[in-house]
């Protein structure tokens, strides 16, 4: 099993979610994060002074998934999240040793 963490632009969240659902992913966990990277933040006015706000609001989507679905899921995320502009985000994949479903005690692929 893998854990896919995708950092994407907030307004692509709905699309990504739908794409993942179509790819067969049923659950996911979403966190609001701030991103620093190549994309420049905006300039904020403060009574005539200008400040560069260099972090950008992003969302992180975490999906635990069985190995055979990984590729499809990543494709789905890339397709849905891509705007072609800098700051579209990243996908990180790590290995999961184990997964448990708290309600039933199921483990492994059953638990996802």
């Amino acid at each position: 099993m893998k854990l896919i963490s995708a950092v994407v632009k907030p307004f692509r969240l709905d699309d990504v979610r739908n794409a993942l659902a179509e790819a067969g992913v049923q659950g996911m966990t979403v966190t609001e994060v701030k991103g620093f990277g190549r994309q420049r933040g905006h300039t904020e006015l403060y009574r005539g002074a200008e400040y560069v706000v260099d972090f950008l609001p992003k969302v992180k989507i975490e999906v635990a998934i069985s190995d055979d679905l990984v590729e499809r899921a990543i494709e789905a995320i890339v397709d849905a999240a891509k705007t072609g502009k800098v700051g579209d985000g990243k996908i990180f994949v790590t290995s999961l040793d184990e997964v448990y479903r708290i309600r039933t005690g199921e483990t492994g692929d059953q638990a996802i």
Binding site: L45, Y46, R47, G48, A49, V53
Partner: protein
């Protein structure tokens, strides 16, 4: 305010010691109703108006400290006002022309039936008290996010007695500036110049916040700031139109010019930002509003709508430029821009009061034997006197307080935020 506008227009106002000398035996219910209402409006300006306006502008870790400062100032100044502040400002002078006496301390002699002008004296005491509350509260913007709470209480308390009370006596209590015919209807000098100058001095004495001006210190909640700004606008009707101390045409005109100036100054700031930076900001438009209101304040009982349009424009543009200059050129961390908005606005307004008092521009005209030029001279004298006295006294008070308790919190505490460090509370637990 203070000089009943009817008298004033009859050319009698300036020389009059008022309201110490009550000239009417029974109060008028309509006038009383309006000043009661105005008192509520001016208290509303500070609590919650100004408190929210300022608190929204600081970082989230200091939001409560700003609310606490405004709130506690309101309480302490009220008590001082009752104990001796009112008496020293408005009772028969101790030192001729410079300071009132102590005959009314603890409000001795202010009873259910005392009358002052056409309103009960209790109402006059209360109305004036709300001015004594908001003036030191305005200074909070200068030292926000770094001043020790106890030092702040000490400083503002002494400042009220040493700066505000004498200035109020000079101008509204029959003191030397009143005798000269100085025109400050609702507090351009008494409130805005004193607060602005004290803010400038405080910012210089205390030093910049850590990280200023490199780190952006953005408002944590602009919706709170806009809410406070709107309350200031509404409350200012009580501040200026209430200063007519009557529900008459003078009050009506004061409300009209006040509103006009606020609207024009808001738009002026908005357009200035739009031209200069490509986008108009919410913070900009509401700051323009405060600038417009501060600028019209001294003029609000003397000018007509035309004067208000020009004064609003001058206030908006002048304060916009002053803000830029202070932040960018001088690098002074008057954190919430008290001096460039209130100080500069108050001074512009005091000068333009002389210009637009003229009947030709719809104003009330000049006192017998006075001209626009002579009034302008008086206004300059008044501004300089108030500026210098306030600057020197504020500096000395701050230095003295610093001997008793350090003005600033430690670096670590500043970083952690005053809310937790000084009050063991956090603003939001969402």
């Amino acid at each position: 305010m203070r000089i009943p506008s009817k008298l004033l227009r009859a050319g009698l106002g300036a020389a009059l010691l008022w309201p110490a000398a009550a000239f009417s035996q029974t109060a008028d219910t309509g006038d009383t109703a309006w000043v009661l209402t105005s008192t509520a409006l001016v208290l509303f300006m500070t609590l919650p108006g100004l408190a929210l306006f300022y608190a929204g502008l600081v970082r989230v870790r200091n939001v409560l400290s700003v609310l606490m400062q405004c709130f506690s100032i309101a309480c302490v100044m009220s008590v001082i006002w009752i104990v001796c502040g009112y008496s020293l400002a408005f009772s028969d002078p101790m030192v001729n022309g410079l300071l009132g006496g102590l005959s009314k301390s603890m409000l001795a002699g202010v009873g259910f039936d005392s009358v002052s002008g056409t309103i009960p004296e209790t109402v006059f005491v209360m109305f004036q008290m709300t001015f004594a509350i908001i003036t030191p509260a305005l200074i909070v913007g200068a030292f926000a996010e770094r001043m020790r709470f106890s030092a702040m209480l000490l400083f503002t308390s002494i400042w009220l007695l040493v700066v505000y009370v004498p200035t109020a006596h000079w101008i509204w209590g029959g003191g030397w500036l009143a005798e000269m015919g100085f025109r400050d209807f609702a507090g351009g000098a008494v409130v805005h110049v004193t607060a602005g100058v004290a803010a400038l001095v405080a910012a210089l004495v205390m030093g910049n916040r850590q990280g200023f001006p490199m780190t952006p210190m953005l408002p944590h909640n602009l919706t709170m700031t806009v809410t406070g700004a709107c309350m200031l606008w509404v409350g200012w009707f009580g501040f200026n139109a209430g200063s007519a101390v009557a529900a008459d045409g003078a009050a009506g005109m004061a409300m009209l010019v006040t509103h006009t100036s606020a609207a024009v100054a808001s738009l002026t700031w908005m357009v200035a930002e739009w031209i200069r930076y490509g986008k108009p900001s919410v913070l900009g438009i509401v700051t323009g509003m405060v600038a417009g209101l501060a600028t019209i304040t001294p003029a609000s009982g003397f000018v007509g709508p035309l004067g208000a349009l020009v004064i609003g424009f001058a206030g908006g543009l002048g304060c916009f430029l002053a803000t830029q200059f202070m932040k960018r050129k001088l690098g002074i961390d008057d954190s919430l821009d008290v001096f460039p908005v209130h100080g500069v606005g108050g001074m512009i307004g005091l000068l333009l009061t002389a210009v637009f008092s003229s009947v030709a521009s719809g104003g009330v005209g000049f006192d017998d034997g006075t001209t626009m030029a002579s009034l302008l001279g008086v206004q300059v004298v008044g501004i300089v006197a108030v500026f210098v006295w306030c600057a020197v006294a504020s500096f000395v008070i701050l230095k003295l307080v610093n001997l008793v308790v350090p003005l600033r919190v430690s670096e670590d505490d500043e970083t952690e935020g005053l809310d937790l460090v000084l009050h063991e509370e956090r603003g939001y637990t969402l």
